[in-house]
Symmetry: C2
Amino acid sequence: VCVSLLFSSKLHDLNEPLIDHAEGQDFLNEAFKVIMDEVLCKGTDVKQKVCEWKEPDELALLLDLELRATGETQHRLLQRVRDVAKYSTKTCHPRFFNQQFAGVDYHSLAGQFLTDALNTNICTYELGPVFVLMEAEVLRGLRQLVGWAEGDGIFCPGGSISNMYAVNLARYQLFPEVKTKGLCSLPKLTIFTSPESHFSVKKGAAFLGIGTDNVILVKVDDRGRMIPEDLDEKIKLAKSQGAVPLLISCTSGTTVRGAFDPLDHIADVCERHKLWMHVDAAWGGSVLFSKQHTHLMKGVDRANSIAWNPHKMLLAGLQCSAFLLKDTTNLLKRCHSANATYLFQQDKFYDMNLDIGDKSVQCSRRVDCLKLWLMWKAVGSDGLAERVDKAFIHVRYLVEQMKKREGFQLLAEPEFVNVCFWYIPPSLRGKEGNADYHDRLAKVAPVIKERMMKQGTMMVGYQPLGDRVNFFRMVVFSPLVSQKDMDFFLNEIERLGSDL
Amino acid sequence: VCVSLLFSSKLHDLNEPLIDHAEGQDFLNEAFKVIMDEVLCKGTDVKQKVCEWKEPDELALLLDLELRATGETQHRLLQRVRDVAKYSTKTCHPRFFNQQFAGVDYHSLAGQFLTDALNTNICTYELGPVFVLMEAEVLRGLRQLVGWAEGDGIFCPGGSISNMYAVNLARYQLFPEVKTKGLCSLPKLTIFTSPESHFSVKKGAAFLGIGTDNVILVKVDDRGRMIPEDLDEKIKLAKSQGAVPLLISCTSGTTVRGAFDPLDHIADVCERHKLWMHVDAAWGGSVLFSKQHTHLMKGVDRANSIAWNPHKMLLAGLQCSAFLLKDTTNLLKRCHSANATYLFQQDKFYDMNLDIGDKSVQCSRRVDCLKLWLMWKAVGSDGLAERVDKAFIHVRYLVEQMKKREGFQLLAEPEFVNVCFWYIPPSLRGKEGNADYHDRLAKVAPVIKERMMKQGTMMVGYQPLGDRVNFFRMVVFSPLVSQKDMDFFLNEIERLGSDL
Ligand SMILES: Cc1ncc(COP(=O)(O)O)c(C=O)c1O
Ligand SMILES: Cc1ncc(COP(=O)(O)O)c(C=O)c1O
């Protein structure tokens, strides 16, 4: 009775807010220390594990995830922060090579924390005066690297959605009535991309109502780059079958092999057929910072739109994905606007163009620009270029070392920072002629992967591709990596696979 | 020459990583202190401004946003952190009433920081072992409040995208071939919603290729609630015109008036016509925590899907938006999957069902569950219920006070925590009969808004609605608010509008 009276008196006392700032700030201080120790110090220490593997059942028990009626003590909650940190994969670890993101940039992370604390929606100037201006400036900076003096853009929750934006804008530009009438009155629209493009092109086609069958796959060369002549033929074929070719989605830095489609040649084809040229540079876009490697994207300035994820190679932290547009006719807003009067009042006392929310298909939109801006300010374009250049230098070293070792077989010379290779264990060397060679080789990577996960020494991904059986895709770009991590990587693969 | 040599030696020395942990961690420590002081202490202090209004040109100069070739000193960067904080709108301020988010929960914020530091993608178990299990548990907890013992779900980057998911699933369930063939071979699909539903229903219809004209608006009653009888008629009419009714998007807590559509009655109509029933509870869903107010969503368990944004009323921080599904047939994954082999290998050593990425149309997906989980653990379901109940109590107080003051005129008794009202300035009182009354009244809110922004004392939004001219929408739910903030609010509106 006493407790419930107390409870209800707190509830009904309108002068007692339900949150205690001193207590809350104290918790946040303590949690910050745990994050510093467990994630940022231990997590980046090569003597510590990349992951602390637990079977799902065991982990669920350890974490005690259940949500209950009553709250817990600060002490218990801090222990929870520690546990979450402990059992999470350390993507900031120098030996995390599993994904197209890795490492940690402290300025970017500070930008994330500030974003979280300021907790706002970037849809209007009154909600995010700093961020509306900052996003414009960051987009301008990125467009400048593309070679565009003008244009538009927006940050999206990931490259997949950026790729969808491209398709939605292309079809609106061609058939403005699609916004109101939908696709059911339009001819069949087709999208062209390479079989090695990211799966989001197909996911997007399904989501936008275009259908995955209408994503036409253009042949690639032996390094995974789109063949412009085949594109030209596929476009003609689609037209002859009554479809309307809409957009070509080129890739700069494919997900698995890191291939760069030849943009200049593709641009010629696009111009000839009047197609929207989209460049999915989610992964490879960062080469634009580098004087030495920017040539990989020669012709990118001829594109209509670009998806570029600073949350990948640039370490901006999830999520940071820029969608860039050459358009200067306010296409983005015309295509996406709903003109909600509760947000975008026409009788505001400031310039309505600063209320950028209607350029998005979202309503609440996180501030994704601050972390990139702060990092960019911290190291400058030169510093970011240096990171890109260094990644290529690391890759060159790794490839040289692989060639010196017996068990490593490259799929091809890497064009970018993806190093794709098979590890041929001792028992398979010299057996390429055997009938079961490929079946046995296919089983090597999964076993090595399981062992490395369970021992927690490092992480790298593998996959098959077409008729190529399972191979590793090593990606090297984190500015935390040093030569000894690459040496370790090679030794470790050998150690884990020596008995296979 | 010397500098460039140094530069290039650092670049080529593979044993020297480009990031210095000690320096970086020191910066993060200092930035954290700034965030604590400038955002969390000053930002929640009623003696400080909610916003420091600057004209865009002036603000751009102050911030020096330009991105340059060279980096800056730590000292300069810390000053930038301070500036960003200073000129940003303080959404955590107790007098920020502008939006459907406000305040700060320190446990949730700690969860955000931890999420950022761990920087991972929740698409596979190996990348986020803790988070894959945690997301499932949080979704289970939310579904339990809905009354579903089973089901599915996922966190989306916002309620707008959650609403799109509902439409995409509904059409896939009805016409599975839409995924491959697209909409151009299907009949015209229609969506039903009220004119007061969120604009994302229309944005989604455009984005998904359905078209905004095919969003059919169902009449509402004088409080803004959908009229089931009109829904029934509109469905019949659409059918008679050859369209295929697909989905009804009900709203629990409309954006402006906070109205709850009568779910139980709507469910009857849905069942009769075999339509997908989606409930957009992005705003109102949190009443499900409250024993006293859960009746507002009676019938929600009969829905097929629900969008619920803990980043709004529950203070989970942007972005935290749950999409809940009743389905137990893996519809979400069947509809969205692309089966990318580089992420979702079939020969993994653990249960593939833990690789949940293919349920999403995204690839990289932020961890949005941790902050909600940690907050929920901290205060329990009872604590969250208390916050909801207290919000209603605050609203009751505010409404009583308004009735006692001459200048405040409610649109209607609030059903939820949105208090919509006109402020009638002295010069307009008793002039309801005048021909220019509504024109003059329409100009009141924008002027008061401009004044409050420029003085920075508080923030509240306004909008017109149908033939109702500009009125304020006050939303009261932050657990930081106390009675004196509401008294201040009323006094301040009077002060700012007394000469109008
Ligand atoms: C080439 C490419 N495009 C697009 C994407 C999707 O980006 P996001 O993961 O941000 O959705 C990826 C992600 O791996 C990618 O590699
Ligand atoms: C009723 C309703 N639904 C959906 C949304 C959209 O949610 P989000 O802003 O997360 O996209 C809102 C946001 O204001 C809303 O009020």
